[in-house]
């Protein structure tokens, strides 16, 4: 600590110094102390009070006399009043503290109302208990304890030249004795030996997860897989839509509860009025978007997973046919191949090829024809 730094203040004996100084303190780094007999008190001072250096740079500061701190507050009457207030605070804190224990025993949980009452009672008693302790202690310091303004000197953090030189010598001697510099073969083989030690922990983390492979390119949708309404898990016939309207979330049959599958395979379907959907083909994209003729009876299926960072694009405005992702407000035009019309998403929501099976239920024609969800390095130009 800074107390072993030399180069400040004249050494005057501090009260209590002798008590500690006998115990073999060796401040070898001190220039002055180097010549002194080990075991005698150091001439270095741990700090100086203003009163002892009043002639120096700290002129004009209030005098501090020995003993170090005044024994009594300056304003005894005020301290007396404050004492009562502090004691009252501590009594209140104690009462609130016992109140906390009582509240724990009295208020039972296991119901919403019970938990609410318990929380109120416990929190209030706890807050009051700690609050009164804080208020009491603060008034104690400010009004009962004597007011003091003391000065402690700072010492330059830089060690004095002798100490630095001595350190440099010690270090040089140690380095020489270790032979580290003189024997390069030792040095180099040691460094070589630590290389695998540094790499091994990283290697050890390899089994944290599988390699990505191409799994991000596909979902669980397969040809003929039924679209089930999410939650009810019922298959859907185009005729179930009595009129154009809202957006329905659907899941692949057989994966209703598989979060890993659904995190990519969730789909929204929207029924439009005839003529509302604008079709193009992949070979002749118009206006930067594509809607394949994968719709059934003006029902279109899009991935629900936002191509920005993967939130569910869950908000649909019927009047404008806009699909909005609530996370970062990427907005997609559902009538035009879910083309991005605002926000940070760079791609439309992928469309799920769809048809009906023999029983007239909506089924997938195939998997999505491009990766769904957020961009990734290996995704490439597949949109």
């Amino acid at each position: 600590m800074s107390d072993s730094t030399a180069g400040h203040g004249p050494g005057e004996h501090e009260p209590g110094h002798d008590l500690a100084a006998g115990g073999g303190e060796t401040q070898a780094a001190e220039g002055a102390a180097r010549r002194r007999v080990i075991g005698t008190p150091s001439p270095a001072r741990s700090r100086m009070l203003l009163a002892e250096t009043a002639a120096g740079s700290t002129a004009g500061l209030p005098e501090v006399r020995e003993p170090e701190l005044p024994a009594d507050p300056q304003d005894m009457d005020d301290a007396k009043r404050a004492e009562r207030i502090v004691a009252a605070c501590f009594v209140l804190a104690m009462l609130a503290g016992f109140g906390f224990i009582a509240a724990y025993l009295i208020f039972q949980v296991h119901t919403v109302t019970g938990t609410w009452h318990s929380n109120l009672a416990l929190g209030l008693t706890m807050g009051l208990s700690f609050g009164f302790m804080g208020i009491g202690a603060t008034i104690w310091v400010r009004r009962v304890m004597p007011h003091v303004d003391q000065v402690e000197m700072r010492h330059p953090l830089r060690s004095d030249p002798e100490a630095r030189e001595a350190f440099a010598e010690t270090f040089a001697d140690g380095t020489a004795a270790s032979q580290f510099v003189k024997r390069p073969i030792l040095r180099r083989t040691l460094i070589a030996a630590t290389v695998p030690v540094a790499v091994a922990p990283i290697v050890l983390l390899r089994d944290l997860g599988p390699l990505p492979g191409t799994v991000l390119d596909h979902t669980v949708w397969r040809k003929g897989m039924r679209l089930l309404t999410y939650g009810a898990n019922t298959p859907i016939r185009p005729a179930d839509f009595s009129s154009p309207g809202g957006m329905i979330t659907v899941v692949p049959d057989g994966f209703q509860d598989d979060f890993n599958a659904l995190a990519k395979a969730a789909v929204i379907i929207i029924k439009f009025a005839p003529g509302e959907v604008v079709y193009t083909t992949r070979s002749a994209p118009a206006d930067g978007f594509t809607v394949q003729n994968w719709t059934v009876d003006n029902i279109v299926a899009y991935s629900k997973i936002c191509p920005h960072v993967g939130c569910p694009a869950a908000l649909y405005e019927q009047t404008t046919h806009h699909i909005l992702c609530p996370c970062h407000q990427s907005t997609f035009d559902a009538t035009r191949g879910a083309k991005v019309i605002f926000g940070p998403a760079t791609r439309p929501l992928p469309q799920l090829p769809m048809t009906v099976d023999a029983e007239g239920f909506l089924v997938a024609k195939s998997d999505f024809t491009e990766p769904v969800g957020p961009s990734f390095w290996e995704r490439g130009n597949s949109s």
Binding site: L19, G60, M133, T138, V141, G209, P210, W377
Partner: protein, 555 residues
């Protein structure tokens, strides 16, 4: 005198074994300066203690598992619902453990307060220049602590596995996956495969309760030790010099005050948790990758990243079959990178530009470092625009403004507002400096009008007292080497450090960074607001406390 006896008995026993008498006495007599802003760091420290205490309690009941269970606990509305064990155990903590809800809420409030206090503490340190030599290392440790706090908070609020935090986790995964080259691998390794998998909660849990808190403990320990060893900075005032510390000793004053402050902090979080509900996860429901609620907002300290993602235009490159998702990784990494890297480098840039390698223990008043203060305000404005944009949906809703309009404004504002903030702040600082100079030269107006014998009315003034003088005093700026070699009417020969392109950059930056209103009404014309004059004329223009230049009484 039984206290004395008990103390000497125990103390003697300990000193026999640890030789502590001298060291502890030094510790007890250490002087702590006082200023209300010094308590910001203390709030951070004490909320950390509260987090350790409440977090330990929560860990006794929390089950960090993504195993599927059907809920049959006390919250009837979720009866029979499939959910992860993590979510179910969080419901149990809330409704079936006495004091569990209170501990959860205190933990959450304390976490928010922790980050807020760190943020405020850093701003304080920056604006008063308390990061300057010899405290650069502590500044860097602080930046690491701040970054860790953001990460720790993100992991913490993701642990209950509710619908809201799940959305945050999904965004985190999407961002991770977007990082060029390694992103997909990072995501697969962190999540143990595809999102969401079943590994992420237990993994975040161990990071949240062991690894990051361990780093916190080590770094906070180092932070406090360095602060203690180097002694606290102090605000300018009467008798304050670069060589002393004025205040009250550790024992009993600081110990009692800081102990009281711990109780205040704890009381504040406890009362907030009593009356202000936070993170009612039972209302959000268990996580489900298909569902989300409108108006999803992260905890406040993640808001700036959210806003950054929201305002970014849809830019992306596909090069040789590889995707550069600029729309994701730029907003996720660049703003944080600018703020953190800028903050980390600033002390060293400032040292290089000003040539000031001295130790600084007396803080600057923010007005006395106009450029630094202006830069700080620009940074805060940058952060603030990002943060507001992170709540653009809430703003649109409350103020009935079109959502897209807010985003479009934010895209401009994120560049414009920091520049405006810089200029305005600098003007204000220089104006305040002029006011100081005015006070120094003319004294304080007393509000007393007197009529002189010749009929003239004057207002009486009094000279500044010692305390006021000490407050407005400025430390002497350091002159760059070139300053000594400039001569009137002749071409200056640059000093060795000022030659070449880098030297000219340094000289130019120096002119900007050291711009100040001259204190004695002379000199420093090189720093004038108009920027005329040689950058090499750096005449020390400041006064120090108690200099002869106290204001005249009346004019």
């Amino acid at each position: 005198m039984s206290i004395d006896k008990a103390l000497s008995g125990t103390g003697g026993w300990l000193d026999d074994r640890f030789h502590g008498a001298k060291g502890i006495r030094t510790f007890f007599r250490k002087i702590f300066p006082d200023h209300w802003t010094f308590m910001l760091g203390e709030i951070a420290l004490y909320t950390f203690v509260i987090l350790l205490l409440t977090g330990t309690f929560l860990a006794l009941f929390f089950k960090p598992s993504m195993g599927d269970v059907v809920y049959h606990g006390s919250y009837l509305k979720l009866h029979g619902v499939h959910m992860s064990e993590a979510y179910a155990s969080t419901l149990n903590i809330s409704f079936d453990v006495r004091g569990g809800l209170l501990m959860r809420q205190i933990h959450h409030w304390a976490a928010d307060l922790f980050v807020a206090a760190i943020f405020a503490h850093m701003i304080r340190i920056f604006f008063v220049g308390a990061y300057r030599k010899p405290r650069e290392v502590n500044w860097l440790i602080g930046i690491v602590l701040f970054t860790l706090a953001l990460l720790e908070g993100l992991f913490g609020y993701s642990l209950p596995d509710d619908l809201l935090s799940g959305a945050g986790l999904r965004i985190t995964q999407g961002v991770l996956q977007s990082i060029p080259v390694v992103g997909t691998y990072l995501s697969f390794f962190l999540f143990g495969g595809e999102y969401p998998g079943t590994d992420i909660i237990p993994r975040m849990y161990i990071l949240h309760v062991l690894l990051i808190p361990g780093l916190f403990l080590a770094l906070i320990g180092a932070h406090l030790f360095i602060m203690f060893h180097q002694k606290h900075t102090q605000m300018p005032g009467k008798g304050v010099t670069n060589e002393n510390v004025i205040g009250a000793p550790m024992f009993p004053y600081f110990m009692a005050k800081t102990g009281a402050f711990f109780f205040f902090t704890f009381a504040a979080t406890a009362l907030a948790s009593t009356f202000a509900q936070i993170n009612p996860i039972w209302l959000y429901g268990p996580y489900n990758p298909l569902a989300i609620s409108a108006g999803s907002q992260p905890d406040f300290y993640m808001g700036f990243l959210e806003g950054s993602l929201r305002m970014m235009p849809a830019w992306q490159w596909v090069v040789f079959g590889h995707t550069f998702a600029f729309n994701v990784f730029i907003p996720a990494l660049v703003p944080l990178g600018i703020v953190m890297t800028g903050a980390a480098l600033w002390p060293f840039i400032e040292q290089w530009v000003t040539g000031d390698k001295r130790e600084h223990h007396v803080n600057d008043r923010p007005r006395n470092a106009p450029t630094r203060t202006a830069l700080g305000m620009a940074m805060i404005a940058f952060y603030g625009v990002l943060w507001l944009e992170g709540a653009n949906d809430v703003l649109a809703d409350h103020f009935d403004v079109p959502l897209y309009t807010i985003t479009e404004i934010a895209r401009v504002a994120v560049f414009a507002v920091p520049i405006v903030a810089y200029i305005v702040t600098k003007r204000i600082c220089l104006g305040l400096q002029r006011q100081d100079v005015h006070l120094l030269e003319h004294g304080v107006e007393m509000g007393i009008i007197r009529q002189l014998p010749n009929g003239e009315f004057i207002e009486e003034t009094r000279p500044l007292d010692e305390e006021e003088l000490a407050k407005i005093a400025r430390p002497e700026p350091v002159a760059l080497p070139a300053g000594q070699s400039a001569a009137d009417g002749e071409e200056a020969v640059p000093a060795p450090g000022m030659r070449g392109g880098l030297g000219r950059v340094k000289a130019r930056l120096n002119k900007i960074v050291t711009e100040s209103v001259p204190m004695n009404g002379h000199g420093t014309n090189g720093h004038g607001p108009n920027g005329h004059g040689e950058p090499t004329e750096h005449e020390p223009a400041a006064i120090s406390a108690g200099s002869d230049d106290s204001g005249s009484e009346r004019h």
